[in-house]
């Protein structure tokens, strides 16, 4: 039920983000979702792509530091209070969210949110027990 995400260390220097996307594009890799967390010195670019391992190799070949982590993709009703409902479930289940970002694409009537939990197994249990749809990795990569 988990989704593979790659994260890339980038210094705050002009052109580095372009270098990443160029490396991925040249390797024929498509980006599904993206989030950039930044500080004054560096940023962490988190990506969900259609071919995780190929993307990792392509970036490492270009000298980037790349890690793979597991995140959870959750369908969120695309209406007011939709996200709140899910966060409420997580809160009641005492699940801590490390970070989250929204998926650019829609999935039927719902939006997709990517969550990074410190304990993904527990989070998935809580979500599914409350009738919330957690998406399979394959589904997300091919959206």
């Amino acid at each position: 039920m988990k989704v593979e995400q790659i994260s890339i260390f980038i210094e705050n220097k002009s052109g580095r983000l372009a270098d990443v996307t160029h490396a991925l594009g040249s390797a024929g890799i498509n980006i599904r979702a993206l989030s950039l967390a930044d500080t004054s010195d560096f940023g962490i670019l988190r990506l969900i792509v259609d071919k995780t391992d190929e993307a990792k190799t392509a970036l490492k070949d270009q000298g980037f530091t790349v890690n793979k982590t597991e995140v959870v993709a959750v369908e969120v009703p695309d209406r007011p209070m939709g996200l709140y409902g899910i966060l409420q479930v997580l809160d009641r289940g005492k699940v801590n969210v490390e970070y989250m970002y929204a998926f650019v694409e829609r999935c039927g009537e719902n939006a997709v949110i990517i969550f990074r939990f410190d304990n993904p197994e527990e989070a998935i249990k809580v979500l599914t027990a409350n009738g919330i749809n957690v998406l399979q990795g394959e589904r997300v990569y091919s959206m």
Partner: protein
């Protein structure tokens, strides 16, 4: 194993007697042939005849690197140029290089001391010595080369650079001993890993590393990454080149300085006063066999101490503790004395942190600032900001605890800090420029 058992295990009294005799001869010679020393001794109101014991050495004036610059290029030579068969020079990063000349006997003596050093490091005839010290004006390449030939080993005169080829040759030629700077050995390991070459599959057994200060933690790092014994060698062109002193493989603790050719002293770098054995200070060396360019009480700028306890290897020559830095790469930041090696020791003890780092010293609004740039690798990288911030906080705190100064830690992308094929440049000091 010993190369020259007679001289390497000479009793202490015999060493002292030999040193005094050779010192007196050297002083007579430089007094007669080098105007610089004549003038210097006259100013100190001393003649070679006044030196009646080794203790009298302290009455002689020091020789400084600046004296070599002032007498550039041949002013300190004690023989006519026609007796000089080789000329080397320091890199001269701060102006004119310092030039040194060797007579044929000097070259033979140097080869002898390098052969001794190789044997002390555990090398022998039949070894394939991969010499990646730079050839040319720098003494490292040719110094190690002649010593390895004298030993009767097979030398590969690689010189520095051309890293991919170095790795291929190590694989194909079956190199067993590597000689280069410690920082270059780590660069080789990194490059090999990228090529998919595992150092454990190579025949390499020993590495002999010198020409820049390095730490015990870097030794562990090198030994693990290259799967070898890492031996520290000491030398400087003004005195000879590599082979002034070396660690024995038996103890790997302190560098035996070849006392039948050199007299070491440790002084307080600020006052010039001689410090008792065991105390840390600046190393001063007097050469007592060199013909081309003898050196009287040369201030090396290297910080060390003398180890007088007998060594397990049986050599009777005194040992220099691992160099802890140089008086000239000592940084004074907001009044605190700091050696890059101290910062290095903090970094290499943090799990996952690469030994590649750079120190950036600057002055902002009359206040010194120190920034430590550290490369991020897969072990230290995380997809969460707080993990990376915890890492920089931890480095900051450990530096503060150890050195009492605050610094900024900047994480940089891998390979952004320049790799050196010779001496690593650890410090960029932008103050006063």
């Amino acid at each position: 194993m010993l190369w020259n058992a007679e001289f390497e295990t000479l009793p202490r009294e015999a060493i002292a007697a030999l040193q005094l005799k050779r010192l007196q001869q050297t002083l007579q010679r430089v007094y007669a042939t080098v105007p610089f020393y004549q003038e210097n001794f006259r100013r100190a109101k001393i003649t070679p005849d006044d030196i009646k014991s080794l203790d009298d050495l302290r009455r002689l004036p020091f020789t400084l690197k600046q004296d070599m610059r002032d007498n550039y290029p041949y002013g300190l030579f004690a023989v006519p140029l026609e007796d000089i068969v080789r000329i080397h020079a320091s890199s001269g990063t701060t102006g004119k290089p310092t030039v040194v000349g060797y007579t044929r006997r000097d070259i033979e003596m140097w080869a002898e001391l390098m052969a001794r050093s190789f044997v002390a490091a555990g090398a022998h005839r039949g070894d394939v010595i991969h010499n990646a010290y730079g050839y040319g004006l720098f003494t490292g390449g040719l110094g190690a080369h002649y010593g390895a030939e004298k030993l009767g080993a097979s030398v590969i005169p690689m010189s520095g650079g051309n890293t991919k080829k170095q790795i291929m040759i190590m694989q194909d030629f079956g190199s067993t001993v590597l000689t280069c700077t410690p920082s270059y050995s780590l660069y080789l390991a990194e490059a090999a890993a990228e090529e998919g070459v595992d150092f454990r599959d190579l025949k390499l057994r020993v590495g002999i590393f010198g020409a820049e200060p390095w730490t015990e933690s870097i030794r562990r790092e090198i030994e693990a990454k290259l799967n070898i014994k890492a031996i520290d060698i000491y030398g400087l062109s003004e005195i000879l080149g590599p082979g002034v002193g070396i660690e024995c493989i038996e103890a790997q603790h302190g560098l035996h300085i070849w006392e039948d050719h050199f007299i070491p002293e440790i002084i307080n770098p600020d006052t010039g006063e001689i410090l008792p054995h065991g105390e840390q200070g600046e190393l001063v060396i007097t050469t007592i066999t060199k013909e081309g360019i003898p050196m009287i009480r040369y201030r090396t700028r290297d910080i060390t101490r003398l180890i007088t306890e007998p060594c397990v290897c049986g050599r009777t020559h005194i040992r220099l503790a691992r160099m802890s830095g140089r008086t000239d790469d000592m940084l004074i930041i907001r009044g605190v004395n700091i050696f890059p090696s101290q910062i290095e020791s903090v970094l290499v003890n943090i799990e996952g942190v690469e030994p590649h780092y750079q120190l950036l010293v600057d002055r902002e609004e009359n206040l010194d600032t120190l920034e430590i740039q550290v490369e991020v690798n897969e072990k230290t990288f995380s997809d969460e900001i707080k993990v990376l911030q915890d890492l920089t906080q931890r480095i900051r705190k450990e530096i503060k605890d150890l050195l009492g100064i605050s610094c900024k830690v900047r994480l940089v992308e891998p390979k952004t800090i320049a790799r050196s094929e010779g001496k690593a440049q650890r410090v960029i000091d932008r103050r006063g420029k």
